[in-house]
């Protein structure tokens, strides 16, 4: 019998010290007020470490001393909070089974003091809250909607009467108890029919596609196969096998939508175009065609990330992911798991790479959302959560977060798109062998490294919330652990350099099922396939998992590797040194089948060829109706309104406050963008470091002057009109962004991330054909531009089903809502000498301002129209061939330029402002001198049109002649930088705006502030 005693150490800030602020408590106080208007007089935060064994006095003292900073903290083994210190206590504990690094590292400290490891540590915390008028419901609201997410945490509220200062929060040692003997089951052979499998699929939430079921049914009715299975004691398909097949055939793993056939009908012409395979025709073929002519593209479209040559010693490796559904349920956990997860992709590419950068993109609902539809998390809470998740995930990984964007759109309340990008650097050779190639040989051992396996992420987050008691593991949501992964990263990089790794891939969606499953189907050095897996060897977080659960669990921070037998001891030793758990869990062979064992029993036997069977292709009808026909129009009201005003200053200030235009410094500053010492063009630049860069540059190989250039964007508003023009605008803006920091067009690599609402037809999705047409149009545009710019797509992902059903609080009904058709475009370039880079902050008063490219009447989907609640019709149409020519001219002229700024959301005036504000300068410009299209006849159109192809540049007088001779008539001088007035003269020559730059800057920063 273990002893039933426990010890509970409470630690808090010593607020008697006048220098001290209880920062964590302060966050609760501020957010309670901001989120709910709940005013708290005083709050203390107390951290609790509960050890489920009785500690002797010597151990107690030593442990307490180690964990308490004598200058700033107080601690005690009895509750720190008496009745006088609180009106309410809010205690927050983790549900059992949730990854808790605090507990793990604390246990590491305590174990040597106790002399054994047969105990557990549980970390939790509570807040002692004071406020004269606070009610229980208010504290419960803070607990429920702010501090504790019921999926991963429990909370408890104590009133002053209920609080016992001798007992405090009591014993908090939530252990997982499953009381379950692991078993696997077989379907009776009689039930292997279409109906039988379909019923089972529904019962077990396998989400098998109906079209796949006949193929599976056929295989398990094959007598030869059944005879072979008999050798291993198997009859009908086991649950392990069906889970494996379902994972392998899932849309997530197979991209069934992108590989579908599309019948595209243009309603205007009634012309029908059939696209045999969207992915092959628009992404794969163009990329292969382009890559064939570019020797330095070494790996695209098949590995975890794309690989391209950076310099003589290194390749860069890049990939981008979304983590939408989890982030919409548990924002912090979803986002941290997302960023930490995407960092495993370059780690698992080729023979592994070192992570050198990351980025984020948040497409979220309005922060001040007050509508009737109730998303699972209010946008404000969701945003705070994802921002914090990416912060902890990125910063604690020691990887600079070099870029990012934040984009609000009302439709995003349906489902926010949370993008995360990972960039790695891979040596060209490892011990004289190409590092980008994986090579499995029969006899290689399968090793799982990193975290342990629990019920995490089994079948996604769908069934998360029901029927949990305090000993139920928080099964479906994962909290990424950057600390565990950072150790694994260092270990894997070293193991690679020692030559131990032959193959590596990460465990993401589908877990071992997907990582080992895919590896076992790769041809090995003898041209064969196959593997044997020993599931009983897989280290578990807690006992009681069924075999199929071990096989498909998505527990994080795990890599699967192939290690040659002679290296295994050294590999395991190195792993131990790095504090990383590595376990041999199988071996590759030539058996042309995957055989999964648990102890002596075989629980799955699937021949490789079964998953290579031709599963039926999906098919979609797409129907394109022109925007006018869909009821979109150019708003007339604005025209009348604008003709009446003489001073545009006030209007402009309102535009600067728009969430997508306003300063987002508060996010950028929280992210370490300089670790690794590689920063060149930072995400924020300017004399006060407060202006967002269009693109960023790092110098990832410290022994080289070569720069890695990166940008990304979304153009969600344009998708409301036409995704073809959305994609061309996105691409064009990305190209201008890398040009703006000094990169050339000679090296471009792209990356597409599609987030799309469902295009499956059904009564709940009446415009499915339109969404399908939008998907086709986006891909058509992408293909055209990739070919034009000689731009391979190194990596790409799709996340379908950006839809949600929400309660309408006014009508009490459930409402289904789709997100916007969205594509994030990422663009990489290089620059030979980082000292040649440019930033976008204006340098000196007196210098000339030129605008390259024409301004057209293109306010459709603009931020300006959105300010009036309008969408419009005239979406920016990109003349890509013309622009490309102009950019080639600009590259020649760039030597005469000091500063370059891209014109994008908000139009010319906004980006002129950002450029000038970067140098704390003013401008005096005339719209009369702007290159404009005949259709532009209003000042607001000229200032706020979002026409693509445009750059603003700063040129010194001395370089005027040379610059103009290079640019010809594709650029025109519109004025000068001045001391501090922001002056714009209109198309009629009259002054229409005259503002102080510091006032504008203040307004621009007022929306988000420094949260």
């Amino acid at each position: 019998m273990k002893n039933n005693g426990f010890s509970r150490l409470e630690i808090c800030m010593d607020t008697d010290n006048p220098f001290l602020l209880d920062a964590r408590a302060e966050v609760l106080r501020k957010r309670s007020e901001n989120y709910f208007g709940i005013e708290i007089d005083d709050v203390k935060h107390i951290r609790v470490l509960t050890v489920d064994t009785k500690l002797d006095d010597i151990v107690k003292k030593e442990f307490q001393d180690a964990l308490t900073n004598p200058v700033t903290q107080k601690s005690s083994y009895s509750p720190l909070i008496g009745k006088d210190d609180m009106d309410w206590v809010l205690s927050v504990t983790l549900r059992p089974g949730v990854k808790d690094t605090t507990s793990d590292t604390t246990k590491d400290m305590l174990a040597p003091l106790i002399g054994h490891s047969d105990f557990n540590v549980f970390s939790s915390s509570y807040f002692a809250i004071k406020g004269s008028n606070l009610e229980r419901e208010q504290i419960e609201k803070i607990g429920k909607e702010m501090e504790a997410n019921h999926i991963v945490q429990n909370f408890k509220v104590y009133s002053n009467e209920e609080w016992n200062p001798d007992v405090g929060i009591g014993r908090n040692t939530p252990k997982v108890r499953l009381n379950h003997v692991p078993t696997f089951i077989s379907m009776p052979l009689s039930e292997i029919t279409f109906k039988g499998i379909k019923t089972l699929s529904e019962d077990r939430q396998l989400y098998l596609n109906e079209k796949d079921i006949p193929t599976i049914a056929k295989a398990f009715n094959d007598q030869e196969f059944l005879a072979e299975r008999k050798k291993y004691g198997l009859k009908g398909p086991t649950d392990v096998e069906l889970e494996y097949l379902a994972q392998a055939r899932s849309d997530h793993c197979n991209h069934n939508t992108f590989n579908a056939r599309f019948n595209y009908l243009d309603r205007k012409t009634n012309g029908m175009t059939v696209i045999d395979n969207l992915f092959v025709e628009f992404i794969k073929n163009p990329t292969e065609q382009i890559s064939a002519d570019i020797a330095d593209v070494v790996s695209v479209l098949w590995d975890n990330s794309g690989v391209r040559r950076f310099n003589k010693d290194y390749y860069y490796v890049i990939t981008s992911e979304t983590h939408n559904s989890p982030s919409n349920m548990e924002a912090y956990g979803g986002a941290i798991t997302g960023i930490v997860g995407v960092y495993r992709d370059p780690l698992g590419t080729g023979k592994s790479s070192k992570l050198i950068a990351g980025s984020y993109g948040f497409c979220v609902g309005p922060r001040d959302y007050k509508g009737n539809l109730q998303p699972f998390l209010h946008p404000q809470r969701l945003q705070d959560g994802v921002i914090e998740g990416v912060k902890d995930g990125g910063n604690k990984s020691g990887i600079p977060t070099i870029f990012g964007f934040y984009y609000e759109e009302p439709e995003n309340i349906a489902k926010s798109n949370i993008f995360v990008t990972a960039i790695g650097l891979m040596p060209v050779d490892v011990l004289h062998k190409p590092a980008y190639e994986k090579e499995i040989s029969s006899g290689d051992l399968i090793v799982m490294s990193g975290g342990r396996v629990g019920k995490d992420g089994i079948h996604g987050v769908t069934a998360a919330s029901e029927g949990l008691d305090e000993n139920t593991p928080a099964g479906h949501v994962q909290i990424g652990d950057p600390y565990t992964q950072k150790k694994m990263h260092d270990f894997i990089n070293e193991a690679r350099d020692m030559g131990y790794l032959k193959f590596i891939t990460d465990n993401g969606g589908g877990g071992l099922s997907s990582s080992i499953g895919e590896a076992s189907r790769e041809k090995n050095s003898e041209g064969k396939t196959g593997a044997e897996v020993w599931l009983d060897k897989v280290p578990l977080k807690y006992d009681g998992l069924d075999q199929w659960e071990i096989w498909v669990s998505e527990s994080q921070e795990r890599m699967t590797t192939a290690v040659r037998l002679p290296c295994i001891d050294d590999f395991l030793k190195l792993s131990e040194k790095h504090g990383v758990e590595s376990t041999v869990i199988g071996k590759f062979n030539n058996d042309e089948a995957l055989r999964i064992k648990y102890g002596s029993k075989t629980c799955a036997y699937i021949p490789t060829k079964l998953l290579e069977e031709e599963f039926p292709q999906w098919e979609f009808d797409a129907e394109w109706v022109e925007p006018e026909e869909r009821g979109l129009y150019e708003p007339k009201g604005i025209c009348e309104f604008i003709n009446k005003i003489a001073d545009h200053g006030k209007l402009f200030k309102n535009l600067l406050k728009m969430p997508n235009i306003a300063s987002k410094e508060w996010i950028t500053r929280q992210y370490d963008h300089e670790v690794q010492g590689t920063s060149v063009i930072k995400p924020l630049v300017g004399i006060e470091n407060d202006i967002p860069s269009d693109a960023v540059v790092i110098r990832p190989d410290l022994n080289s002057e070569k720069g890695f250039v990166f940008t990304q964007n979304v153009k969600q508003k344009y998708s409301k009109i036409d995704t073809y023009h959305m994609v061309t605008a996105s691409f064009d803006e990305a190209v201008r962004s890398i040009l703006a920091v000094g990169a050339d067009l000679g090296h471009l690599s792209g990356m597409d991330n599609f987030c799309w609402p469902s295009i499956q037809q059904g009564s709940e999705n009446p415009d499915a054909k339109h969404k399908a047409a939008q998907l086709v149009r986006a891909n058509v545009a992408l293909k055209e531009l990739c070919l034009l710019y000689n731009n391979p797509l190194l990596s790409g992902k799709d996340s379908m089903y950006i839809d949600n059903t929400m309660d309408d609080v006014e009508t009490g009904k459930k409402v289904r809502m789709s997100g916007l058709e969205t594509m994030q475009y990422s663009l990489v370039s290089t620059i030979d000498d980082v000292s040649d880079c440019l930033s976008c902050d204006a340098k000196e008063a007196g210098n000339l301002i030129y605008v390259i490219g024409a301004t057209k009447n293109e306010l459709g989907g603009s931020e300006y129209y959105a300010m009036f609640g309008e969408i419009g019709l005239n979406v920016p149409k990109t003349d890509s061939e013309h622009n490309l020519e102009s950019y080639h001219g600009f590259v020649e002229a760039r030597q005469y330029v000091d500063t370059v700024k891209v014109v994008k959301e908000g139009g010319l005036a906004v980006h002129l402002f950002e450029m000038a504000a970067g140098g704390n300068l003013g401008v005096n410009v005339s719209l009369q001198n702007l290159l404009i299209d005949d259709s532009v006849n209003r000042d607001d159109t000229a200032m706020y049109s979002e026409s693509t192809g445009r750059l603003i540049v700063e040129v010194r007088e001395e370089n005027k002649v040379m610059f103009e001779s290079e640019m010809g008539d594709s650029a025109s001088c519109i004025g000068k930088f001045t001391e501090n007035r922001f002056i714009i003269n209109g198309l009629e020559g009259n002054e229409i705006m005259n503002e102080n730059i510091y006032d504008l800057k203040k307004v621009w920063k007022s929306t988000h502030g420094d949260r």
């Binding site: 200058v71 590292t105 970390s123 260092d490 040194k577 370490d672 010492g677 410290l702």
Partner: protein, 281 residues
Amino acid sequence: MMGKKTKEVRALVPYGEGLNCDHETKYIFELAGARADLVHVKDIESKNVKINDYHILCFIGGFHAGDENGGAVKWAYDTRRFIYDEILEFVYQNKNMVMGICNGFQNLANLGLLPGFDDQGGRRVLSVSYNDCGNFRDQWVKLKVNQDSPCIYTKGIDTIEFPIRHGEGKVIPGENVLEKLVDGNQIVMQYCIKQTGELANKYFPDNPNGSVYDIAGICDPTGRIFGLMPHPEAFNHWTNHDQWTRKKYHLSKNKEILESKLGDGVKIFQNAVQYAKEHLL
């Protein structure tokens, strides 16, 4: 073992356990003329690699053990447990040099090596705690160097700029500690106002974390142990600086040539290497 009979200055940079900044710290030591070895923390704790074979020990930034119980709490605990005697020998007997940057500075404070008062006896008398702004912050700061400080690393530097990147960087001295730090000129660097160079006097964001007395870095009474929150290793190249494109503009306009592509951070490490050459080789 190699011993220290070689003619080169040897710097030891422990890594692993969630620390980062390892590659750039090694790189900048090499730019400064040292031979720098990245050695896993465990190899040092197990004494596979002996710290006393080195002249300079640099505790780098990062999140040791995730900093789960506060900045460098476990790191200092482990260091004490495994190699405290070796460190004392390294510092006090062999009179070698120790640097702590960011998480490494927190480690030195927790180990009691800083401020290193004679009567300190390994106790913690100074805390590096949560930023007043309540959040992690990445920002360039301007630092004023105390010209009367015994600090070896900052010789010849008046003001210098580096990035800070931390959530816990507010230096809080214990009782009577501030007076002693001031008296001994152990406050090496203080945050100052970017435009004027005057002390920030807690003004945010020039003082980014609310640090008492604007303290950004301190040294022990000998000047051989130096801890700071800003990251000198992140200014290894002139293009790391937050204003470098503006500097480039003025160079170009005035037809001047860039003197060196090295970042100012290299000076800190050059000073260390120079001292080691003169006193420790």
